[in-house]
Assembly symmetry: C2
Homo-oligomer: 402 residues x 2
């Protein structure tokens, strides 16, 4: 499935089963750069940040370069107190020793059950397996796919995107790998994403770029705002392509590519949302200000009744209107228009006189469509990608201890 | 089931099928006082208030006494623009004429599908049926139960509560009838409640009392804040008992009784939440201020992942902690304690050392239990009643056009 994904130079990958998850499911991944890479990151804003987030924040704040990223699924190392941080340090120490890297150049992420102590011994055993794998088949798509699989929790499939970009310095590649999150508000399933490039970029530029990109991608799916204890987006630039990007046009090309990778991963996350059968773009326009647009957009995108209606392929615009109405924004009901794709459903706050139920139903039957809400009260807008709420969502989350 | 419910004097009830709902389901209810009653009400804060809410607000603001309340299910008369208000007026006009009451003394509520024009002719035909019923069997429990049934939408059973109260002026009765609402955030299924008493109370006192009572009952289930287009609580005091309450102790007794009725109806609504199998009280204490307590309480009570864990009888305290963490309140993670009923699960932000999984699981298996979250950072607290999120919720809302 990912055979043709572009993979940036100077990175090796491995994914193994060490015993955190049942059966032979892969549960430990390594992303390894050939040299220390410039590192930027965006972390969860949850007030209970997990131990690996607390440790990662310190590393990123210190401006450390990162060379090795170890990610385990099956255990979040969250709500584990001081011991959790001690465990991260222990794992990082061993990982660094085995790979002959300074501890500061190793980065640890975790996802899985909250509140259980990190099984350090199990993970250290896994580190040995990973290092063994590095000798064999660690370059290329199959290895990357194993790593992508090892970070999954309730995801159905691994998420990998790669793009090639022409710059004045030559061709560079950006490769992204991510794991998803349940697609319902409030969401606490962890989102992890790793954006890798073989370009060389200055740290401050790279950090600012990542923040802008995250804001227009991972923060535009209906998971953020309700961040999990472990959410992390890490971006590494190792410079192995030899292309050092400083020109404005090159940096723009890099940012465009990074955004494309991040947006494609976001779409994959939404489509693979727990039990999801639809990916729906909610577009609020004509808002008096950006905050109002965002509030209304989130109210609609997170509405369980709207999301179950999507699942039922029911063009139930009343639920959309009701969500707009309780978003806590002063609006003028008699100005609001709503469309499903190009089908105008509501004009001036009431059913459009030309709207035919079958036209709305036809849109709702598509796997991807948009809901446009025009407030006609200003110039600001906001967009979110959301999914439907299904029986399978309930099954997954009633049974899965996350 | 409601044979023994206390019914206040001077009220008659009727419920008929007029054709708004399919088959022979009752869909039109009348609550009729023998004389004009002092009327207070609390309405939805949704920015798309339905036509009957717009009309009702004007009546209540004018201080009009109310004698007849007509409630239809099957159509919300919401997002129907100016025509919606014209339709309410037309129905009220005919209702008043038939009952020989001034139009101002009739009150109309609607619940059901949003955005469809109100089928006025169908309803007027129903009014005739109702008036016919008044002649027959309109006093007592069977009649009240028919009325309670006629206002249901996805409710499984009618909701009626009655209490008898001793006052210095004699015995008075408060009778309440309500229809429920889906039990998930964000909720747009309409909640309607009618609180009736045969006491006599001064309007200003009655209004203030109702607001306080609603704030401690219907606003404490996880539906408010996300109010539907039609939510209405109407309280009528007709004075037929001959007890005019002015003494402070009598008014306190009245308020206690009103609160009891409202809280019991609230519990019924939660228990009958769409597909609900659990009623769970979320208690946040030790908060630095009331707003913080409420924010955290709502984040937990509205969390789909927490609610699906309740359904799965999974003592998944990690999801609760995660919801506390994203509520947007500054907290000190290392002070937070969490208990399921009396079982301490989390102490100081991490798993309590004495906690045993089987003790938590035993609590979660109960149909009603509490989740206590102590922030240990102040004196304020907030409580909400919520339910679980089930397969049936999805089925109901994917299929039901509300």
């Amino acid at each position: 499935m990912f055979e043709n994904v572009k993979i940036c130079a100077g990175f090796r990958f491995a994914g193994v089963h060490c015993g955190l998850k049942s059966a032979d499911m892969l549960d430990l991944a390594l992303l390894l750069s050939d040299c220390p890479a410039t590192a930027a990151a965006v972390f969860t804003e949850n007030r209970f940040p997990a131990a690996p987030v607390l440790c990662g924040r310190k590393q990123i704040a210190a401006g450390d370069k990162i060379q090795a990223v170890l990610i385990n699924s099956g255990n979040a190392n969250a709500c584990t107190g001081h011991q959790g941080e001690v465990d991260v340090a222990a794992v990082a120490e061993v990982l660094g020793a085995v790979l002959e890297l300074p501890r500061a150049q190793t980065f640890i992420s975790s996802t899985g059950v909250i509140g259980e102590p990190l099984p350090v011994t199990t993970i250290l055993k896994g580190v040995e397996l990973l290092v063994g794998d590095l000798e064999k088949d660690a370059v290329g798509n199959a290895a990357l796919q194993r790593a992508a699989q090892a970070i999954m929790t309730t995801d159905k499939s691994p998420k990998i995107v790669g793009v090639e970009i022409e710059t004045s310095m030559g061709v560079i590649i950006i490769t992204g790998v991510a794991k998803g999150a349940g697609m319902i508000h409030p969401n606490m399933a962890t989102m992890l994403a790793y954006l890798l490039t073989d370009a060389e970029v200055e740290l401050e530029t790279w950090s600012a770029m990542l923040k802008r990109v995250v804001d227009r991608s991972f923060n535009r799916i209906s998971v953020d705002g309700d961040m999990s204890t472990n959410d992390t987006v890490l971006a590494l630039a190792n410079g192995v392509s030899g292309c050092s990007l400083v020109r404005e046009s090159d940096l723009e090309a890099l940012e465009d590519g990074l955004l494309k990778v991040a947006q494609e991963l976001s779409l994959m996350i939404v489509k693979d949302g727990e039990g999801a059968t639809k990916a729906v773009e909610i577009i609020v326009s004509g808002a008096p200000d950006a905050a109002a647009a965002e509030k209304i957009c989130r109210a609609v995108a997170n509405s369980a009744l709207v999301k179950t209606a999507f699942f039922g392929q029911d063009a139930n615009w009343g639920r959309i209107i009701a969500a707009v109405g309780y978003a806590g924004v002063e609006i003028e009901p008699e100005l609001v228009n709503v469309s499903f794709d190009k089908v105008r459903v509501v004009s001036g706050g009431i059913r459009d006189p030309h709207y035919r139920e079958e036209d709305g139903a036809a849109v709702l039957q598509k796997p991807e469509f948009s809901v446009k809400i025009d407030l006609q009260s200003g110039e600001d807008e906001f967009t979110l990608l959301t999914s439907d709420l299904t029986h399978e969502y309930v099954s997954i989350n009633a049974d899965y201890r996350s």
